[in-house]
């Protein structure tokens, strides 16, 4: 992948399916996954734009079931990060099995 593509921001919107919204378990799982990837990522709810590598930030999203959130990512593994976070947020529970392939 060329440098130009790497710097490009990928954007995706997703509806929160998690039954209790973006609660601690969910955002913790997002942080753990995103931290292991080569990616810069933010998640924005109506209230807050959070760095996906900060738990305190993510906890402030306070997005409830049915809310739309916006994901932005760039970096070599942006696709992977977006796919994971979108699938997890759309799933009904924090421990949903996400296909990481």
């Amino acid at each position: 992948m060329g440098g130009g593509v790497r710097d490009e921001w990928f954007v995706q919107e997703v509806t929160v399916g998690q039954k209790v919204g973006t609660h601690l378990r969910v955002v913790k799982r997002i942080l753990e996954r995103v931290s292991s990837l080569d990616v810069e990522m933010s998640i924005s709810s109506e209230r807050h734009r959070a760095d996906a590598r900060s738990l305190l930030d993510l906890m402030q999203l306070a997005a409830a079931t049915g809310d739309r959130v916006r994901l932005e990512a760039r970096g070599a593994q942006a696709d992977e990060a977006l796919a994971f976070v979108a699938a997890l947020l759309a799933a009904p529970s924090w421990d949903a099995e996400i296909d990481d392939a």
């Binding site: 942080l31 906890m59 009904p92």
Partner: protein
């Protein structure tokens, strides 16, 4: 009025969260005892101050990690484990660490003050969140902040370290970490300002069998530490500086409760046989196969109700045959040769996740359908469960219980599906017990009225009182204005139970009861007298009910039930039952886990 030592008696009413009575000295866990001032730091010392701060963060991280491993291990309590991991992540969050370090340098102030200002910023953001669930996370932020502060000011890292063994712990609220820390400190009792019967403190206290009262509101404010206190986990009362008379009263109750519990323990090995030599089956209602041990430990005769809903909930697919088979097989093996009654799926269509609903044909399709009605509408879902149950049946003594039956035609259809599934299994070469018993739940007045007809199609009936009460009196359980209708001893209910029991005797099928009512020792004589042959309850209720059974004659119970049938309302019935039970079992009304 204070006595000559300045002690003031205070009796506070809260919510009883965990059974038992504790009498002992108080230790108060105070959150706000960390005090520090704003101190200016000379320019050339700010880097030292930042280093001191980062060291405190590091130490706090190690303490949390140690606690996580020590108390929970790798496969310990998952809920606690995740919370502690999240605390460690928060601790290293740049929003906390980088901003505090920045503040120390920029404003040339001490680490404590800089951290407090940073925490205030974060608190402000959380306080503005509208959703209460998210706002509650504020306590997590406070907790993490306090861990660092304690290391900065040189206090021991956890408030619970201050807890002395054999004391009553008084606190505003307890965090998961506090309770975890106290696990091995032989706490006598817990009294907290906040909490509910389902709050974390209550659950932990019940698991550890420590008496606890929560929601006392002012107990921290009134307590000084070191004084005597009584925690009454039966009535939800906490008395600080009790009078001598109160102490003696409670000591008496405490001793009687201990003696009684010990006595009940002797029942575990004994059969639930009446004095006129009739043996009643006392079985258990459980949700998880891990509870199998509690079944035998409490001296029960098997499982009267194993609920399978947990297999279906909280996921996006449906449990496959092999997964269900593993679960049922393990349960049957663990309890062999005791009978294990497994209830087929008892969910309403609305309880499925949207993805599951798609899988089984759409939410709209299933609206208003529940339990067997849903299973017969979607036999492909039902068959998977029946296949798993039948395949498990060779590993123990299985009984299959069908919920929410209201028509004979439903049972006819269940038999058809069962026969088809058996034929399938035979042709595939899977072994199963061809004589597995089938039973029907009686949960509606309709089912109770046709119990004689239903009995022709099953080998046992099981009365589910929770739903039966709701549908008989047309009242939702949680309607606080209608609680007077929610009385299990209402003549209408007694008559329905008798109808079902009589039908069972006539048809030669056993009649069980598996609602909450069955686990109430005060009702045991009535239920026996009405003709029930099996009572199924939470495992912990078995020893007390067994005690009543063993000290009763079935013939007396029948005469007693007949007498009750003539009383005009639940008020007279309750009064009569209480009078008789109080005379014969004075200890039942205190020190007995019956709620």
């Amino acid at each position: 009025m204070p006595d000559r030592l300045g002690r003031v008696r205070a009796a506070l009413q809260g919510i009883a969260a965990s059974h038992g009575i504790a009498i002992g000295r108080v230790v108060v866990l105070r959150r706000a005892e960390l005090s520090y001032d704003r101190v200016e730091i000379p320019f050339d010392r700010t880097e030292d101050e930042v280093a001191r701060f980062l060291a405190a963060v590091e130490t706090a991280g190690q303490q949390l990690a140690q606690l996580r491993e020590r108390v929970f291990g790798q496969d310990g309590d998952a809920e606690h484990y995740h919370i502690l991991e999240a605390y460690e992540l928060m601790l290293r969050d740049e929003n906390l660490t980088a901003s505090t370090a920045h503040r120390i340098r920029e404003e040339q102030i001490n680490a404590e003050w800089a951290l407090e200002v940073t925490l205030d910023d974060i608190r402000g953001i959380f306080q503005r969140l509208e959703d209460e669930v998210f706002r509650e996370r504020l306590s997590d932020v406070d907790f993490v902040g306090e861990r660092i502060l304690r290391n900065l000011v040189g206090r021991s890292a956890f408030a619970a370290d201050d807890v002395l063994p054999h004391h009553i712990v008084v606190a505003h609220a307890l965090s998961p970490v506090d309770t975890a820390q106290m696990l091995h400190r032989n706490i006598l009792g817990l009294a907290t300002d906040e909490g509910s019967r389902t709050s974390h403190t209550a659950i932990v206290a019940r698991a550890l069998q420590i008496p606890a009262v929560v929601a006392l509101r002012h107990v921290v404010e009134k307590a000084r530490g070191g004084e005597l206190a009584i925690v009454d986990g039966e009535e939800g009362i906490c008395i600080l500086n009790p009078t001598q008379a109160e102490i003696e009263l409670y000591r008496g109750r405490q001793e009687r409760a201990v003696i009684y519990t010990e006595k009940l323990r002797q029942n575990v090995e004994l059969p639930a046989t009446t004095t006129d030599d009739v043996t009643i089956r006392l079985s258990t209602n459980i949700d998880f196969r891990e509870e199998a041990e509690a079944v035998t430990a409490n001296g029960a005769d098997g499982v009267g109700l194993f609920r399978t809903e947990f297999l279906y909930l909280g996921r996006n697919d449906l449990p496959r045959e092999e997964e269900q088979l593993r679960c049922y097989r393990e349960l049957l093996q663990r309890l062999h040769p005791l009978p294990v009654t497994i209830r087929t799926l008892d969910l309403g269509g609305d309880k499925f996740s949207s993805v599951q609903a798609e899988l089984i044909g759409g939410v709209g399709e299933l609206a208003g359908l529940r339990a067997i009605r849903l299973c017969l509408r979607r036999p492909e879902v039902f068959r998977v469960q029946l296949r798993a149950l039948l395949r498990a049946s060779v590993h123990g003594r299985l009984r299959i219980l069908v919920p929410f039956v209201t028509c004979v035609s439903e049972l006819v259809r269940v038999h058809e599906v069962l026969d088809e599934v058996k034929a399938e299994l035979r042709s595939e070469g899977h072994p199963f017990d061809p004589d597995v018993e089938l039973g029907a739940m009686v949960e509606t007045p309709a089912a109770a009225q046709i119990a004689d007809l239903l009995a022709n199609y099953v080998s046992f009936l099981s009365i589910g009182t929770n739903d039966l009460i709701q549908y008989t009196f047309a009242v939702a359980r949680d309607n606080p204005n209608l609680t007077y209708l929610y009385h299990p001893l209402h003549p209408a209910l007694l008559r329905l139970v008798r109808t079902v029991a009589t039908a069972g005797v006539a048809a030669g099928v056993e009649v069980a009861m598996c609602g909450e009512m069955a686990g109430e020792p005060l009702f045991a004589r009535v239920l026996l007298g009405l003709g029930l042959t099996e009572l199924s309850m939470v495992p912990s209720a078995v020893p007390a009910v067994k005690e009543v059974v063993r000290r009763s004659a079935l013939s007396d119970c029948e005469a007693f039930a007949n007498e009750l049938m003539h009383l005009p309302s639940y008020i007279e019935v309750e009064r009569e039952v209480l009078t008789v039970m109080k005379a014969d079992f004075p200890e039942l009304l205190e020190g007995l886990p019956n709620s």
